[in-house]
Symmetry: C3
């Protein structure tokens, strides 16, 4: 892929080389994210954060990544509050907003809408999630995290990953599955209620690429011998009604006792967040918060690196970052310290 000027809409755009290239750039962003240094390479550039569906974490992550490169961020978060409610088409919104911006990160509840928007945009568009469809930067940060946690240098192979929960609606597991197709000899264990199973087209895709897939509705069985367990929330906002979602909430729960009994030591624990910590759900228990293999907050930290890399590459400044470097004069000592006890 030619990154410069590209829209980042789907994991399908990425070759293995593209991923390796992106991750090298993400590695180079680390001193800026942990505040050893600061850079002004995008000083004066404007990101439009266009969120037609709420997402604090993803929105702030994109905004922060752009600020870390020196740029300005203009945000729109109110869908009803916007011209859309006056009958404006995505085409018009894209033509207009792209005249105000150097790059756009966009989330929308409708699958395909970000691509439709991007076709009319005059600046690169990064898909920050289009309903149940794609969320490419999430899949990339997940893979980046897996490799960092497992200390894999270069392409990963022979990974054993368990995906647990609402595999039907969870776009992060769809995208991560597709992204892992770029690599070899991966074993997927898919743990879900039968009704929330991974869509067949994705299972078929994984198998067609030579990976092995086993499906189960027993979490304990699924955890056996995996390197990484990737938990997900029941995506209640994608269900027709709350009552149906309630049937599944709390079905699978990982906690300290189950981890100790069923996982091999150092199994990496991941979750795309937010995790549902209410008693009736609690798919990932707080009693694991201090566990060294709990990678969920390193995941969100890595998200900043990956998004900085996407901005730097699509705006063509990845090789210029070092030319705009300065010292950080302010206090940063606790930034990446270990979590305090609850």
């Amino acid at each position: 892929m030619q990154f410069t000027g590209a829209h980042i809409l789907s994991i399908d755009q990425f070759s293995q080389d593209d991923v390796e290239h992106l991750f090298q750039v993400a590695d180079a962003m680390e001193p800026f994210a942990r505040r050893a240094l600061r850079t002004r390479v995008l000083d004066g550039a404007i990101l439009s954060n266009l969120f037609f569906e709420p997402s604090t974490r993803t929105r702030v992550s994109f905004g922060c990544a752009f600020n870390l490169l020196g740029g300005h961020v203009r945000e729109t978060t109110e869908i009803k509050a916007s011209s859309i409610s006056k009958g404006e088409s995505l085409y018009d919104t894209a033509r207009v907003i792209s005249g105000y911006s150097d790059i756009i990160a966009m989330r929308h509840p409708v699958a395909g809408s970000v691509e439709e928007f991007a076709r009319a945009s005059r600046v690169p568009v990064i898909n920050a999630g289009d309903g149940p469809a794609e969320h490419p930067s999430q899949a990339l940060l997940d893979l980046y995290t897996i490799r960092k946690e497992l200390r894999i240098d270069g392409p990963l192979e022979k990974l054993r990953i368990a995906m647990v929960g609402d595999l039907k609606h969870g776009r992060t597991v769809h995208s991560l599955g597709k992204l892992l197709c770029l690599y070899r000899n991966i074993h997927f264990t898919l743990v879900s209620p039968r009704e929330l199973a991974m869509p067949a087209y994705i299972v078929d895709l994984l198998r067609s690429k030579g990976h092995t897939v086993s499906e189960t509705d027993s979490m304990e069985a699924g955890l056996h011998n995996c390197d990484t367990v990737y938990l997900t929330r029941i995506q209640e906002e994608r269900f027709v009604n709350q009552a149906e979602a309630d049937l599944y909430r709390g079905r699978f729960r990982l906690n300290q006792a189950i981890y100790t009994q069923h996982c091999k030591p150092n199994t990496v624990i991941m979750h795309p967040l937010p995790r549902d910590s209410r008693a009736e759900a609690n798919e990932l228990d707080n009693d694991l918060n201090q566990h060294p293999s709990l990678a969920i907050f390193r995941q969100t930290d890595n998200g900043v690196l990956v998004r900085m890399a996407l901005f730097a590459l699509t705006l063509g400044v990845a090789d210029q970052v070092a030319r705009h470097v300065e010292e950080v004069p302010w206090y940063t000592a606790k930034r990446f310290r270990n979590p305090p006890p609850l």
Copy 2:
């Protein structure tokens, strides 16, 4: 007008010389808006974008214009979420917010409220729309666009303009009409349902300045021989109820076939946006999206230039912009390319 330190509240403040001066400054902003260069002249300055009524386009345009000059933007978009709902007066809000800001752009649903606010403000206030009353930067960008599209250098004369749609509620046509009074020998064709006609005081004003005005409820007749057609949306939010607005939506529609049959070649097509592209309205059809005379997105692009000029002039830095110029290191190639096919 002495621009430096002035509030920009109404088109009535502008003389012909003021407009010419503003447009020269706007011209000088073009390299920054299209990213040939960047400037830091307002680095460290703070714009408060105070929107008591939603408007994605106008809000982002003001914010982007300020960022392009190097400044910070602080936004308030939630009217219910604000102190106003606790009984705070506009006077108090103005005293407080003007202590936090170097300049304020404000939109409010009530006519006259921005002026009331400005009287108490300690920093310049730009009216970004006060209900049905004024929206001076829109009128200025419209006039700037007309001149650019018609390649007029210097004061315009003998323009033939058709205004179409909800001329009763559309503040953009009111303001543009008043602004055009500064020039000579203009022919206005006002196309609207009789019930949504241009207010009599504006028609009288136009005539008193020596312009000719014809009114009709036939769009086809109105399009005849004009240089510019300015379409508007039925302003449904200004109607007492939706049913009444629905009576008029879709009454006038410009599309490729009607344009070809009734307009002379190169008639400039304008619209203040958002255009209502829903089937029941569709006042400006998407089949004209690739038409070279469709100026609606050049209009919004020009809005950034005009707002940059307003900021630079009211903050007294118009002649200092060039002293803070730097290269743009990032990718900008597609920024102003032609629109892609739908």
Copy 3:
């Protein structure tokens, strides 16, 4: 207190020396806030403004203070729009957002929630109000204002202050009372309806520190001979129902006539804002807007100085501000001019 790296959660953290130190730094911020100079000491730093309860004034004040030091601001204002509504714990939100930020200002409707959040945060957290509990920067700016208005250099003593209104729910009077405990020989006159009296534990605290306290439900009596009158709004959002709040609105009202009759000359008039200017409340009448002793807008101006000082101290750059100073090229003449007549 060691300011660098500290969370600022409560007035209880402050010794008299801490307050004196903070106020010296606040004094040094004045040239930047009134735009004689600008500084870039926090250029590249990121403040997360995390407001789980609306507050235009406090939110913009924190954001502006950070911009004045050169930093970026990322905002989250939509509580329902956030991960919280998907069951995310404060612990998770804190772990995630602190990975995106150099410092966080947080408001939340629930007492104690900011402290809970801060325990999990990897960067300093400033409490911008947690429900009925604490709002330390407000108490600090109030004390800073009292001293400036009364032209007191160094620790204040023998102050006579009247607090008026909803002393039960008003956290600003609670915090200010506690903060004044650091000083000596203060006389408090507490004016409220009996049902909205200052909580007994605060009255006991004041007395235990050697201060004198008198309580009354007559405002006229309470105003007698005080140096400062601190008015408050009926905090209707803290009442069980609107009807109960309505019982008390409008009970105490200060206006020009009452001031002239009952206050000694130069009595400083303060209010934490917003003041409720609706006819049925109007606790502080607009006929005092031009009175030289009306300090309410100098209070909000001072809030910027105090918040700049808190940022500079917690981020450890208070002694580096002067190293990043530049001229201000834009118009600032009206910024601190006297209020115009209504």
